[in-house]
C-alpha cells in the first residue's frame, strides 16, 4: 500500500460502497444544469484569468493571460539576423512539426509529387500524438453514421463548431481507419476482423477504436516508420521562430533556429503547413499538464504575427482525470478509457457525484466542484485535493486481468510508484490537456494567410468549445491529409519559374507595435520550451543568443 495513512480511511469507505455502486445509475445532466455547472466551476469561466488582445487579427478577443503574453511580445529571434537572400533550403512544401498531423501531411504531400521538408524542434514523434491513449473515433459500424458522429461532435462543442470542419472530420473518419489498417496499425479486433469499439465521453455510439491503451503511440510509430521508408527529408531539433512572407503577404517559408548550435536557417517553400500542436506547457492558471515537453503554442504565435485569424482562443480543455497522486507524476494523463471500461469517480466518502462519461468540460467541472465547493475531495500529502477513480471495479465488472490487458500503460505508470490499480483506486484531478481553439482553417486546412496551412491541435474551429475524446487522433489525420493534399496542389501549381522575394517586414512591424504598446522588453515569443530550472539558472536560454 503506497498511500499514506491519512488517505486510507477514505479508501475503506470507497471499498464499502463498491457493491451498491455497481448497480447505481446516474443520468446525463439536462442542458440547463450542465450550463450552470460549467459557469460555476469550469476554469474558462473563472474571473480575471483572461484579457483582451491589444493587437493583431483577433484584437479585442479574450484569451488566457499565459497565451496573451505570447501574442503581446517581441520576436524571439531578431528578424534582421536571418539571411533571406540565400535560403538554406528550397522546397515545395515545408511541414513544421513532427507529430501525427505533420507526418501524415508530409507523407501525403510527398506522395502527390511535392518536394517536402519536415522540421521539428524535438524528435519526430515527441508529440501529444504519442501520448494519446484512449482511442480514435470513427463512425464505421452498422448502427452508426457520419451524421450521428457529427451531432455528437456539435453537442460536445457547445454547437459552436465550424460546420464544414466538423463535417470533414466525421466524413473522412472511416477512410482514415482503413488507411491505418493498411499501414499495419494493430487495432483491438475480434477474430473476424470486427473492431472492439467502446464509448467515450459524449458519444452516442461505441465508436472508439483502440490499440490497448497505447493507441496514439501505435499510430505515431507506424506513421514515422512509413515516413522513414518513404525517405521524407527531416531535420530534428530545429524550431521555427518566424514565418516568411512575400511582398503580397503570401507565406513562403520559415526561419528556423537550430537548437544544437544556435544557427538561424531560412527555408523557402511554396506552401507551408504548421502542425505545431497545443499549449499545455504554458500551464494556464497554474494547472499541471498532460502535454509533451514542447507544447508551447509556437505555431499560434508565428501564424498570428503573419496575420492569421485565430478561433476559440478563450477555451482550454482540462482533462477530468489527471494524476493527483503520487506527486512525481501530477498532471499526467489517466486515459478516459479507464472510465470507458467501467471505473467510477467517487469523493472522499466513497460516493459518486457525476455520470463518468459526460463531456470532458462537464466532468472536469464536477470534480472541481466536489473538491472546492463541497469540500469532499481527498487530501494529498502536498495539500492538494483529488477524487478517486475506482479502478478495482473494472476487474469486478469485466473480469480479472482486464486492466493488464486493456490498460497496460496505466498499470505500468502506477505500479512504478507502488500503487496496484487492480486492487487500489487511483487519485485524480483535472489537468490542462487540449487547446480547443487555434488557427482558423477552412476544410482544406488553409488559413486566412495565403500559402499557409494548419493541421492538428494548432488548428481551430473543428471542435468548437470542447473536443470529445478520440476526435483529436482523428482530426490530426483528417486535416493532416487534407492540408498535405491542398498544400502540394498549391505548390505544384506555382511552377518553378517564379521565385518570390522573401520578407520579414511583418515581424519588424510587429516589434515596432510591441514597442509602441509598451510590452516588457524581455517578453519574447515563441518560447520553444518551458523552463523548469530554479533561480538563478532560469531564463537564460542559451539558444536565443543566436549567431
Amino acid at each position: 500500500m503506497a498511500y499514506p495513512l491519512p488517505m486510507q480511511p477514505s479508501i475503506e469507505k470507497l471499498n464499502a460502497t463498491r457493491q451498491s455502486r455497481m448497480t447505481q445509475q446516474i443520468p446525463l445532466l439536462p442542458p440547463d444544469q450542465k450550463q450552470t455547472l460549467l459557469e460555476g466551476f469550469h476554469p474558462d469561466y473563472k474571473k480575471g484569468t483572461m484579457r483582451e488582445l491589444l493587437l493583431g487579427a483577433n484584437k479585442g478577443d479574450k484569451t488566457p493571460h499565459e497565451l496573451a503574453n505570447l501574442f503581446e511580445a517581441f520576436t524571439a529571434t531578431d528578424p534582421a539576423q536571418a539571411n533571406l537572400k540565400c535560403p538554406d533550403y528550397d522546397v515545395d512544401v515545408l511541414v513544421i512539426g513532427g507529430g501525427g498531423a505533420g507526418v501524415s501531411a508530409a507523407l501525403v504531400a510527398q506522395a502527390a509529387g511535392a518536394n517536402v521538408l519536415l522540421v521539428t524542434k524535438l524528435r519526430v514523434a515527441d508529440a501529444n500524438t504519442t501520448m494519446a491513449q484512449g482511442g480514435i473515433q470513427a463512425a464505421d459500424k452498422t448502427n452508426d453514421s457520419p451524421a450521428i458522429h457529427y451531432l455528437d461532435v456539435l453537442g460536445g462543442g457547445g454547437y459552436k463548431n465550424k460546420p464544414d470542419l466538423a463535417r470533414a472530420l466525421t466524413y473522412d473518419a472511416p477512410a482514415i481507419i482503413a488507411w491505418l489498417e493498411e499501414m499495419g496499425v494493430l487495432f483491438d479486433k475480434n477474430a473476424d476482423g470486427t473492431m472492439q469499439t467502446i464509448h467515450g465521453g459524449g458519444t452516442s455510439r461505441k465508436r472508439m477504436h483502440t490499440c490497448r491503451d497505447y493507441t496514439g503511440l501505435e499510430i505515431m510509430r507506424c506513421l514515422k516508420d512509413e515516413m522513414l521508408n518513404c525517405k521524407v527529408p527531416v531535420i530534428e531539433h530545429n524550431a521555427a521562430t518566424e514565418l516568411v512572407l512575400d511582398p503580397d503577404g503570401r507565406c513562403c517559408g520559415a526561419v528556423l533556429l537550430d537548437l544544437e548550435n544556435n544557427r538561424l536557417r531560412v527555408v523557402r517553400a511554396k506552401a507551408t503547413i504548421l502542425a505545431t500542436g497545443g499549449c499545455g506547457r504554458l500551464h494556464v492558471q497554474g494547472f499541471p499538464t498532460s502535454n509533451h515537453y514542447g507544447a508551447t503554442a509556437d505555431g499560434l504565435v508565428l501564424a498570428y504575427r503573419a496575420g492569421a485569424k485565430l478561433a476559440f482562443i478563450d477555451t482550454i480543455q482540462y482533462h477530468p482525470t489527471g494524476v493527483a497522486f503520487p506527486t512525481q507524476i501530477v498532471g499526467q494523463l489517466i486515459t478516459e478509457k479507464v472510465r470507458s471500461v467501467g471505473a467510477q469517480l467517487t469523493n472522499v466518502e466513497g460516493n459518486r457525484f457525476i455520470y463518468e462519461l459526460e463531456t470532458r468540460d462537464c466532468t472536469a467541472s464536477a470534480i472541481i466542484r466536489e473538491c472546492q465547493e463541497r469540500n469532499l475531495g481527498v487530501k494529498t500529502p502536498t495539500g492538494d485535493f483529488g477524487v478517486w477513480l475506482d479502478t478495482p471495479l473494472i476487474e469486478l465488472l469485466k473480469g480479472p486481468g482486464t486492466i493488464q490487458k486493456q490498460l497496460p500503460a496505466m498499470y505500468r505508470q502506477f505500479i512504478n510508484f507502488g500503487i496496484d490499480m487492480t486492487k487500489e483506486p487511483i487519485l485524480t484531478y483535472p489537468t490542462q490537456h487540449y487547446q480547443n481553439g487555434g488557427i482558423l482553417i477552412d476544410d482544406k486546412g488553409e488559413t486566412t494567410v495565403k500559402g499557409l496551412y494548419v493541421a492538428g491541435e494548432a488548428a481551430g474551429g473543428i471542435h468548437g468549445r470542447n473536443r470529445l475524446m478520440g476526435n483529436s487522433l482523428l482530426d490530426i489525420l483528417v486535416f493532416g491529409r487534407r492540408a498535405g493534399v491542398a498544400a502540394s496542389q498549391s505548390a505544384l501549381s506555382i511552377g518553378v519559374a517564379s521565385q518570390p522575394r522573401l520578407s520579414l517586414d511583418h515581424a519588424k512591424k510587429y516589434n515596432a507595435m510591441a514597442k509602441e504598446l509598451g510590452f516588457p522588453k524581455d517578453r519574447k515569443a515563441p518560447i520553444l520550451l518551458p523552463d523548469y530550472r530554479p533561480e538563478p539558472y532560469k531564463g537564460h536560454f542559451t539558444f536565443f543568443e543566436c549567431r
Binding site: 484569468t49 501520448m131 476482423g193 497505447y214 515537453y293 507524476i329 520550451l529
Partner: protein, 242 residues
Amino acid sequence: MQSAKGKVKEAECGERQADSGRVTIYLMGKPYQVPASLTIMRAMEETGYQFVRGAGCRGGFCGACATVFRTTDTYKLKVGLACQTVIQDGMYLAQLPFYPANKALYSLKDMKAAGELLVQLYPETMRCISCNSCTKICPQDIKVMDYVNAAIRGDIAKCADLSFNCVACGLCATRCPAEISQYHVGMLARRLFGSYILKRAPHTKQMVADIAARKFDPDLDTLTKASTDDLKARYAKREMEK
C-alpha cells in the same frame, strides 16, 4: 498581469515536491544535492540542465529520456525513463538520448506475411546468443529476447504481440553483444501482422464504400444547415447505444 503567478511556480511541470530532505546524485560523475522526491528529469533541471535532447513527452511514452545508472548497494547496471524514475541517494547516472541503430527500408504494401522477412531484412537477428541482456535492461519490462527468438522462428504474431509495449528507447540495442536493433525488428513484425495477418474490419470497408456512394450526404446536408435550436433538440433525443 499573470494573476496566478505564484501558483504557476508551484505547479510548474506538474511534479510537486513533498518535503523529504535532500540526497546526493552524480550526473556523469559530478555530485549534486537535490530534493529527494524528484524524478531524474526534474533533478537534472534542478541542477541547471535545460533539456533540448533527452526529454520528449515527459509522460513515459516517447522513449527520449532513457537513463542508465548504478547505485552503491549493488554492482548491477540499472535503467529507467528519466521522467518516470525517482532518484535515490548515491545514484550515479548518465542519459542516453540517442543511440545509433540501422533501420531497414521497405515498402510494406509490396510485402506479404512471410515470417522469414524479419531475418531477411534484419539478418543480424540470427546472431542472438540468448544472453537475455535485452530483456534485463528493458525499462518497459518487455520480454525482448523472447520476441527476438520469435522473429528468428518467423513467428510474426508472437513477435508483434510481445513487442507491443515498446517505446523505442533503444536501450536493448545498447546492451546486445550480437549488435541487433531489436526494436526495429519488433516494429517490422507489428506492421506485417497488422497489415497482412490481422483481418481487415468488414464494417469499415462497407462504410468507406457507403460514404463514397454519398449515402450520408443528405443527412449531413440537413445537419450542417440546421439551426442551433434544431441541433439541440436532436441532440437531446439521441438514442444511446448500451
